[in-house]
Subunit: 106 residues, 2 copies
Amino acid sequence: MTTIELGSGVFTLINVFTCEPEQQKRLVSLLIEATEKTMKLMPGFISANIHRSYDGKRVVNYAQWQNKESFEAMRKDPRAIPHMQAVGALAEFDPILCEVVESIAL
Amino acid sequence: MTTIELGSGVFTLINVFTCEPEQQKRLVSLLIEATEKTMKLMPGFISANIHRSYDGKRVVNYAQWQNKESFEAMRKDPRAIPHMQAVGALAEFDPILCEVVESIAL
């Protein structure tokens, strides 16, 4: 289970992928495979949460890392690069590096 | 606290706002105010989680509703519209309506 909390200090990556609807399912599979085989083994990984849009045109990965350093190390890791290239061949992506500033829940 | 889980059945809105960096703080304030004063009082609201990007150019609201119907009712509610207009004057927004298809956490 993933939690979103104010003050947790986690480094959040919200990566928005834009794809052709006929590629959405394949893109989801690639992201799950990349996370299971590579990302989750790297130091600092906390979570990856893959979402599919109902219109078929987007996939969003809401990912958490312990800090910016662990995220940057993953991006440069030779084990991660082939996965990112495979994803990049299917979709455009817009990675948003951010932090929680408010969490309001009932 | 907000949780992300596979199979929870929640309706997720990931709303990506693009703003001028000097407006980011104001935009965050408007979104918090809108949530506290209006959205969280509406039937079906579960959570809103406001994120600011480190580059100043984005704000992301990761929001959860019980189902599509409660989300659509909120969007048409006369109490919500002035808040959405105030936000729209400061930023472009790209609402992604989606569902969790995988959640991988250590």
